[in-house]
């Protein structure tokens, strides 16, 4: 009948959800698929047709209220500021110094806004765009158009939950236009914005900024720890938008910007850190000296404890660090300008050092380590009073068991992870009711299934810890190897001590020199089972891919055995004796 006329009514039918409306004789909408008649009647738009102006007034009144329901006007960068603020708070709660939030991160963020021409600069993007859009109505001042928080430069960081003034009505015309596809004012433009050299904020970038601030402050938190805390939910990341103020409505394009459905990956955030630092033109970072947590010696000590290896190995790791020259301040300190696109993966490197030491001591060729274990075992049986000698086999058995359990738990936790927010995001207002209804449905179903689960496993969230394993004697019942000695696998030779094992093999014989980014590849089946286990264990601890650890090990070996690589490339590399 009057389908043409009913075209502008785009809501879904309450009965059948179709958007197919017709007009009844009384001017009410009815659904053409289920014949449900709504209470809504067609707004009379043509004022000439109806002389009664009262109706018009009512209509206008309704529209105004709708606008208010939309919430505040806000910019995408404000959203990210909220996220950063939450993350900084969480870090503070984890014990990181308060300067991180108020000085370092805040400064980085200001610098970012400036560099990306969003604020703190002449003619920021928002203003430029505003001028273009409201050309011809020069009634509003420029400063008004800047994101509200930026005009408030007095405080170190605007508190996210602080009182905010509702947006000035002068923005209405703009907000109406922009909010067609996003809740934020510039969501659409933001996702379209592409400029050369611009680092656009995205959720992983927030973590990169946190990582940079931590590095600047030389906090005792490596990148892998940061990401692990994110994964364990100690630092807001997935669904961080849930904690935005009620009035900041998100939908449409905002969904693609703030709602993420992936965990941050180490490589990705690491790349971003470098990119952001370069983009921000940051000066040389504070020096990483030997007393810093991120110095390989300290990290090695930490990871040796973590994986239950004897403390005596620490001497060896220090040796390797020294010989490879990776303990130097210049090598360790991040300088975005001087060292283009390079920084040290502190945690990965430390772990790689431990792997190298294990290779030096036990060779890890599925053979030598077991025969050395046999020696240690007999020694331990004969000398029960002495300090026990480190038995690699026993260690492997203990580690394998704990590692498998841990990994299984981790996999289950990942499979149970709830991605979907309690506050569902929709693409356009038409979808709103559908999305909310679906959400409600899921919640109901979840309730039903949770009654079937025995004692609802709302196990108290693990309190954040930089250690994932606990080897104290009373917990593990005497399987702690920290105090074991390496006596059995070393022997004195004059003044120095040499390892019983005199062989070594290189993880990578030849490095990839092509333009692809990786320097080597890791084909698991080409390596000994023990090596595979070690690599798996450590890459699980850091939540990184096995190949990136393998690569790091190869790189350390490259520094360690420089000569071998440069002189005799063809010669077998298994002949090198370890000098001590």
């Amino acid at each position: 009948m009057d389908r043409e006329e009913a075209k502008e009514f785009r809501e879904r039918c309450a009965q059948c959800d179709a958007v197919s409306w017709g007009l009844t004789d009384e001017g009410k909408y009815y659904c053409t698929s289920c014949h449900n008649v709504t209470e809504r009647s067609k707004d009379v738009l043509n004022s000439e047709a109806i002389p009664n102006t009262k109706i018009q007034a009512i209509n206008r009144g309704l529209k105004k209220r709708n606008k208010l329901e939309k919430g505040w006007d806000w910019y995408v960068c404000e959203g990210f500021q909220h996220v950063l603020c939450q993350q900084a708070e969480a870090l503070k709660a984890l014990g990181v110094g308060p300067e991180l939030k108020n000085q370092v991160l805040h400064n980085f963020w200001k610098r970012y806004l400036q560099k990306s021409k969003q604020a703190y600069c002449e003619n920021p993007v928002h203003a430029r765009k505003r001028k273009a859009s409201v050309l011809g109505s020069p009634s509003h001042a420029d400063w008004e158009s800047e994101p509200a928080l930026l005009s408030d430069a007095s405080g170190p960081f605007v508190e996210s939950d602080g009182p905010r003034k509702p947006s000035p009505p002068s923005r209405a015309s703009h907000s109406e236009m922009a909010s067609i596809c996003s809740g934020s004012l510039d969501g659409v433009e933001y996702s379209l914005r592409k400029e050369k050299g611009l680092v656009k904020m995205a959720m992983p970038t927030t973590l990169a900024l946190c990582g940079l601030s931590l590095l600047w402050q030389r906090e005792a938190l490596a990148l892998s720890d940061l990401l692990r805390f994110v994964e364990e939910g100690h630092i807001p990341y997935v669904n961080a938008f849930e904690r935005f103020p009620e009035e900041m409505k998100l939908y449409g394009r905002d969904k693609g910007i703030f709602a993420i459905e992936s965990w941050p990956s180490y490589e990705d955030v690491y790349r971003q850190m470098i990119d952001v630092a370069t983009f921000l033109d940051l000066p040389r970072f504070p020096a990483i000296t030997e007393d810093c947590y991120l110095h390989p010696n300290i990290l090695c000590r930490k990871y040796l404890m973590e994986v239950n290896l004897p403390d005596e190995m620490y001497d060896f790791t220090c040796q390797v660090v020294k010989m490879a020259g990776i303990g130097e301040v210049d090598f360790l300190t991040f300088d975005p300008i001087a060292r283009k696109g390079r920084t040290v993966k502190y945690d990965v490197q430390a772990v790689a050092v431990i792997v190298t030491v294990l290779k030096l001591l036990f060779l890890l060729d599925d053979n030598v380590e077991w025969s050395l274990s046999a020696i240690a075992e007999t020694y331990n049986e004969e000398n029960k009073e002495d300090k026990p000698c480190f038995d690699f086999r026993k260690w492997y058995q203990v580690m394998k068991k704990s590692f498998d359990e841990k990994k299984q738990k981790w996999e289950e936790a990942r499979a149970k992870f709830v991605w979907k927010s309690k506050k569902p995001l929709y693409h356009s207002p038409i979808d709103r009711s559908v999305v909310y209804k679906r959400r409600e449905m899921v919640v109901n179903l979840q309730k039903q299934f949770s009654t079937l689960v025995d004692s609802i496993p709302t196990a108290p969230k693990n309190s954040p810890s930089s250690f994932q394993f606990n080897w104290t004697e009373e917990v593990t019942g005497g399987t702690c190897f920290h105090g074991h000695s390496l006596q059995g696998i070393l022997y004195k030779k004059g003044q120095s001590v040499t390892t019983m094992n005199s062989l070594y093999w290189l993880s990578t014989q030849k490095f990839c020199k092509s333009y692809c980014k990786h320097v080597t590849t890791y084909e698991e089946s080409n390596f000994s089972l023990t090596y595979q286990f070690i690599i798996n264990l450590f890459s699980f601890l850091l939540r990184i891919k096995t190949y990136s650890l393998h690569e790091e090990v190869s790189l350390i070996e490259k520094r360690l055995f420089k000569k071998k690589y440069s002189t005799a490339k063809t010669k077998s590399s298994r002949s090198r004796k370890v000098r001590k």
Partner: protein, 458 residues
């Protein structure tokens, strides 16, 4: 049913176009296959961890179900429900089915589950995505039947039967028909119960007329429920059977015949031996001419040569006047005995022994040769080995006699392990057995005396 029509209206993914990936709707969960399919579908694009979570979750559920760990399955189910909110609309549309299948399985076995829980679950699932309403209703009804809740199941089906959803209902016509047919099946059940009661009542009883009236009313309703389904191609054995029974009971022979003929001969229907069996039985009850019966069974013979009706078919053929039918009769017997399941069928061997004799007497040696040529390589080992001779002799002497006779004819006495193995212990035995076995003895004797053996005839 009100919501989620967007599932129907918008086949395009609503997420940003970068994630567009056409994925086959897979109801079955084969983790390894799924992974492969996904890597093809995403064309190497990085898959979101959300997808990783859900697929890991699904395989954990699968594992838990296989190990009957219902508790654990329910635990994972709790987080698996988020696939209903997947932003990939293809996956989201496939989700309700997955959730329904897994959820109903868990609720069926879970110790803490009850009929009420199941009902709530089913009712909720019915309203997620209209496309599943009918299937879920049907399965829900079957669940209720399983728990003996006949009336609830029936109510459920009636509700589903009257369900309409705009244009969508037409695409699900087949399902509606199926729902109706199940409804009809339930009605048939009541009907046949009443029929039984009726048969116990005296015809002069006052109650008799009311009861029979009730039955009439029922049958009319039921035939409506069945007729639509029976027209659609498919395998509808239980429905057809009940439908025909009711039609026959009320004397609508033509209707019944039409249904059965259609069911058996319509080419749109999948080949279905039972269709021919039903038709044959019906025609037999109707006392149809032999010619007609033979034509029905001929088709059955082509589909299932080892069917139990084949012996009956053989009898019909034997009685027929046509020579070609006689030849076919032999083929049928050989055909039956080709199957391992029929090797100990005494009647078949009896028939074969008797028929071979009859045919050889009628000097149709060529027929036997025709059949034997393709079997001479394997029948001796398959039927006539000395192993079989021993075991048959131990278990079923009558069978052993028949087989020995057939073996003698087909192989010739000299080359027949079966006969030799048998006769050695049997000579003594036979004498003791006396008159009852005499006939067989004679048969063997005649063979031995030099009736034309197939082998020797070459």
């Amino acid at each position: 049913m009100s919501d989620f029509s967007e599932d129907l209206l918008r086949p395009t993914p609503e997420d940003d176009p970068a994630e567009t990936s056409v994925r086959p709707r897979s109801g079955m969960c084969l983790p390894w296959l799924q992974k492969q399919v996904e890597s093809v579908a995403t064309r190497g694009k990085k898959e979101k961890d959300f997808a990783q979570t859900t697929s890991a979750c699904l395989s954990f559920i699968q594992e838990a179900l296989l190990k009957h760990q219902w508790q654990r399955a329910a635990e994972f189910m709790h987080s698996c429900l988020q696939i209903l909110e997947d932003s990939d609309s293809h996956k989201r549309q496939a989700a309700p089915e997955i959730i329904w299948k897994l959820g109903s399985e868990i609720l069926y076995y879970h110790p803490k589950s009850s009929v009420e829980t199941f009902n709530t679950f089913a009712d909720r699932m019915k309203n997620i995505g209209v496309m599943n309403y009918l299937t879920i209703s049907l399965q829900h009804a079957l669940y209720l039947l399983h728990h003996g809740m006949f009336d609830d199941a029936s109510r459920n089906l009636s509700q589903a039967e009257t369900w309409r959803y705009g244009e969508k209902s037409s695409s699900q016509e087949a399902l509606i028909n199926l729902v109706q047919a199940y409804k009809g099946l339930l009605q048939y059940y009541t009907w046949s119960k009443k029929k039984k009661e009726l048969s116990e009542l005296d015809e002069d009883d006052y109650a008799y007329s009311t009861a029979s009236q009730n039955m009439f009313k029922h049958s009319w309703k039921t035939s409506v429920s069945f007729s639509a389904l029976v027209q659609t191609p498919g395998v509808w054995d239980p429905f057809v059977k009940s439908y025909v029974e009711m039609l026959e009971f009320y004397g609508d022979q033509d209707g019944a015949r039409e249904v059965l003929t259609n069911y058996a001969y319509d080419e749109k229907f999948p080949s279905n031996p039972n269709a021919h069996v039903y038709l044959y039985n019906f025609l037999k009850r109707e006392k149809a001419p032999r010619e007609k019966l033979i034509s029905v069974l001929k088709i059955l013979y082509q589909i299932v040569p080892s069917h139990t009706l084949m012996l009956e078919f053989h009898r019909l053929l034997r009685k027929s006047d046509k020579e070609e039918h006689h030849k076919l009769g032999l083929e049928v017997l050989f055909g039956v005995l080709d199957f391992a399941g029929c090797t100990k069928n005494l009647t078949a061997w009896q028939y074969l022994a008797k028929y071979l004799r009859q045919i050889l007497m009628g000097s149709h040696l060529a027929w036997v040769q025709d059949e034997w040529n393709s079997r001479k390589n394997w029948w001796p080992g398959f039927h006539f080995s000395s192993f079989w001779a021993k075991s048959d002799w131990k278990e079923d002497k009558a069978l052993a006699y028949e087989k020995a006779f057939v073996a003698g004819i087909l192989l010739g006495k000299a080359r027949c392990d079966y006969q030799q193995t048998r006769t050695q212990p049997s000579d003594k035995h036979l004498r003791q057995e006396g008159a009852s076995q005499n006939q067989h003895n004679q048969v063997t004797a005649t063979t031995a005396r030099g009736q034309p053996c197939v082998k020797c005839a070459h």
